[in-house]
């Protein structure tokens, strides 16, 4: 009965109105832009919508992955702010709604959906058993279902623990996480292949799933870090969360920045070395005309700047540096997705306009609204978790 002996004097504070207003404001703005975009240029809007979809998948699924890893590893330091990750994982619920407009515009985006094209193309014909509308729909539906099911099961147990303090719920979540890990690996890989890699159905990369995964985790940790530091600075947690916790978050960010660079470079270098025309055309499309600038910028935005920004030991525990870098990395992830998706839409060069700004605004609005709505329903700290006290006392 150690759970009752732990006393946490956590008092829940309501989020300030400004956050909720900001969320609805951004959401409304983004929605107007999206509606206008679909009205004027539905194809371009759908491509932008796909970027939003993959960005929200990154945040939601990455956050759920972080929760699962925490349970599986028995991590202690992240327990006090696991709720933030649970709330972020709630983005998974809205994913099917975001996916609907993309789904109905797929005919204009994915040329493997054209029956006559597929029949006259030996490569696409041999891929047809996998890349066809029926199987695609089933897959995507199953992915959404699995993600949302695991979200409700894992966070449900965690929330129940607030009231009961039952340690068995932790054990149950560990088991659930163990099942979730392979499910996560497979569904994330195939979701990235289905939504993004099949934009160029002739091209293939066995590293594509890992590449998207590296960006996913980075985006989820960055979003979490920003919110955690903001909440902690304004006293939404209990006292005791300090620079040591920040350092752990910063080190995780730094590690995944390197991981992303490692994967991105490995993928590029293998294709560069083998130099086979059926593989290189994907990179050539991103290295010609104005796309070369985006590729170059991506290296700086996604690797060089955050790498040197978080290299030194003090910078990893510096709150303002971490907040800036978190937002920077979220921006970098959008650039990354833009780089992955948009060359299929505008092969001749970069097209950047109000749509490309408006849709990310919509994504941020959605995240804030989901956050503030779920925030009302739960404590911001898992007060029944047996590891909470140790987590708060975590020191390097």
């Amino acid at each position: 009965m150690s759970s009752t002996s732990i006393k946490i004097d956590y008092i829940k504070k309501d989020l300030p109105d400004i956050v909720i207003k900001l969320g609805y404001g951004l959401f409304a703005l983004g929605l107007i832009v999206a509606a206008l975009a679909y009205f004027t240029d539905p194809t371009r809007a759908a491509y932008n919508n796909l970027i939003v979809l993959m960005f929200l998948t990154s945040i939601g699924l990455g956050a759920l992955f972080m929760i699962g890893i925490e349970y599986l590893m028995g991590a202690v330091w992240s327990v006090p702010f696991r709720r933030v990750m649970e709330v972020l994982a709630g983005v998974l619920i809205v994913l099917p709604i975001v996916a609907i407009p993309v789904y109905f515009n797929m005919h204009d985006m994915y040329h493997w959906t054209h029956h006559d094209v597929v029949m006259n193309d030996a490569i696409l014909k041999s891929k047809e058993p996998y890349l066809n509308m029926t199987f695609f729909t089933v897959r995507i539906a199953v992915f959404f279902l699995l993600w949302i099911a695991f979200y409700f099961m894992i966070t449900g147990n965690s929330r129940k623990q607030d009231k009961t303090g039952d340690q068995k719920l932790t054990t149950r979540n560990i088991r659930l996480s163990a099942i979730f890990m392979p499910v996560f690996a497979i569904t994330l890989t195939f979701a990235s292949i289905d939504w993004m890699m099949s934009l160029e159905p002739h091209w293939f990369s066995t590293m594509y799933g890992v590449y998207y995964f590296s960006g996913t985790i980075l985006a989820a940790i960055a979003a979490g870090t920003f919110i955690i530091i903001k909440l902690n600075e304004n006293g939404y947690f209990v006292k005791g969360i300090n620079n040591d916790h920040y350092y752990a978050l910063g080190a995780l960010l730094f590690a995944f920045i390197n991981f992303w660079a490692y994967i991105a470079f490995s993928q590029y270098m293998l294709y560069w070395y083998a130099n086979l025309p059926e593989e290189t055309f994907w990179f050539i499309a991103r290295w010609e005309g104005s796309w070369a600038y985006v590729s170059g910028i991506l290296i700086f935005v996604h690797f060089v700047v955050p790498y040197f920004g978080l290299l030194s030991q003090p910078s990893k525990s510096n709150a303002s540096r971490l907040k800036f870098m978190s937002l920077w990395i979220l921006f970098a992830h959008i650039v990354d997705l833009f780089w992955l998706v948009m060359p299929t839409y505008s092969k001749e060069g970069v097209k950047f306009g109000w749509m490309e700004i408006g849709f990310p605004v919509l994504a941020i609005g959605i995240i804030i609204i989901v956050f503030s709505m779920l925030y009302k329903k739960m404590n911001m700290m898992p007060i029944g978790d047996p590891k909470l006290k140790r987590g708060i006392n975590f020191r390097l």
Partner: protein
């Protein structure tokens, strides 16, 4: 035992919370030369002791960047300056291929140099003597107790005050530690001539052994096994088809695809009458002819066919190709000379194929007309 010098005053604590508290108090009091000894790393100790962040990271940064640049410079020098070679159709400076090597060398040099600089700069390796060694205090703090030692060289040090202070913060077994001056290495041993001499000797032995191994020993038996491999060498006896060479001869009667039999062996007059040049004096044919003429003919006949051999009189100089006799020969007659040779000149049938021979003749005609132009050329 009279020359014992006071090193420090030590105190023992029982729990990690106590030692953190003690470290905090000691730092607050303003002591600079003190240390905390625990049997394992205690979380939060750095902050309690108010230690600045470690400088070790800068060593790692500097040595890591040195490794990166060394790897880049080494590969650049090898494959761009010293021995440029096309590998896999890549440019001489294939940067993406360099990145993994640069990465590995960075990690390697940064980690090795960090460990070495930690040992040598921070731990003063190989100085291995410390006044606290072999004391009862050290025995306890490396087993199940925690200890603070305040050193006598601290500017605020005062024996009685320190003892009182340690007692106030809850320390037990407050003991002074003494040491013999001779026991302690005050100089850094790494700078001693003996140690440096050892390094030099080790360097000479290792590099000498490597040189001998790579350049001498590998060419002695039994290390020659790489040279005697189970493979067929062209001029060896064949172990499978007995009595033949490893490089088998073609089946009797085999001809190559473009082979045409030469019908006029030993019949120059017939050759002169029967053969005409099948090639037109086009730019392409003349270029081919020029190349072949300069390769095979010019060593003796000279670049312009004037018989000025560049072989410095090792052979009798051939006659000029601008003589009236050669100018009046038909193309077929010249072709015959290339096929059969003449006087000292050997046959060039195997060096040039049919098309190349005729092209060479076209070029020779152009050379001849450059000295003896027809009237039509001058109009």
């Amino acid at each position: 035992m009279s020359d014992k010098i006071l090193h420090s005053i030590t105190a023992i604590f029982d729990t990690p919370d106590e030692i953190i508290h003690a470290a905090k108090k000691t730092a607050e009091k303003g002591y600079k030369n003190y240390d905390v000894n625990t049997p394992y790393p205690v979380h939060g100790m750095d902050q309690a002791m108010k230690l600045p962040p470690s400088k070790l990271g800068y060593f790692a940064l500097v040595f890591g960047l040195t490794g990166t640049l060394t790897a880049l410079a080494l590969m650049y020098w090898m494959s761009v300056i010293d021995y440029p070679q096309v590998i896999g159709g890549k440019p001489f400076f294939p940067f993406p291929a360099y990145v993994p090597v640069m990465f590995e060398v960075t990690v390697l040099s940064a980690s090795i140099a960090t460990v070495l600089s930690m040992l040598i700069v921070f731990f003063k390796f190989p100085n291995n003597n410390h006044a606290l060694h072999d004391t009862d205090y050290m025995r306890k703090v490396s087993y199940d107790k925690y200890g603070v030692s305040i050193e006598a060289k601290d500017p605020l040090f005062d024996e009685e005050a320190v003892k009182k202070f340690l007692a106030d913060i809850g320390g037990k077994e407050i003991t002074p530690i003494y040491y013999d001056n001779e026991e302690i290495n005050h100089k850094n041993v790494i700078l001693e001539p003996k140690f440096i001499g050892l390094l030099v000797v080790a360097f000479i032995v290792v590099s000498g052994a490597t040189y001998v191994m790579m350049n001498k020993v590998l060419f002695l038996p039994p290390y020659t096994w790489m040279m005697s491999q189970e493979k067929v060498i062209a001029q060896d006896d064949d172990s499978f088809f007995k009595g033949t060479q490893a490089m088998l001869k073609p089946v009797a009667g085999t001809v190559s695809r473009e082979h045409l039999p030469y019908l006029y062996m030993g019949k120059p007059e017939e050759a002169a009458k029967a053969m005409i040049n099948p090639l037109l004096p086009s730019e392409k044919n003349l270029a081919l002819g020029k190349k072949k003429y300069n390769t095979y003919c010019s060593p003796c006949h000279g670049y312009f066919g004037e018989g000025d051999s560049r072989l410095r009189g090792q052979f009798p100089n051939p006659p000029s190709l601008h003589s009236e006799k050669v100018r009046n020969w038909t193309d077929g007659r010249i072709y015959h000379v290339i096929m059969e040779g003449q006087n000292v000149m050997p046959s060039y049938a195997s060096q040039m194929n049919r098309e190349e021979r005729w092209a060479t003749i076209l070029y020779l005609r152009a050379l001849q007309r450059s000295l003896n132009a027809k009237e039509t050329d001058l109009q």
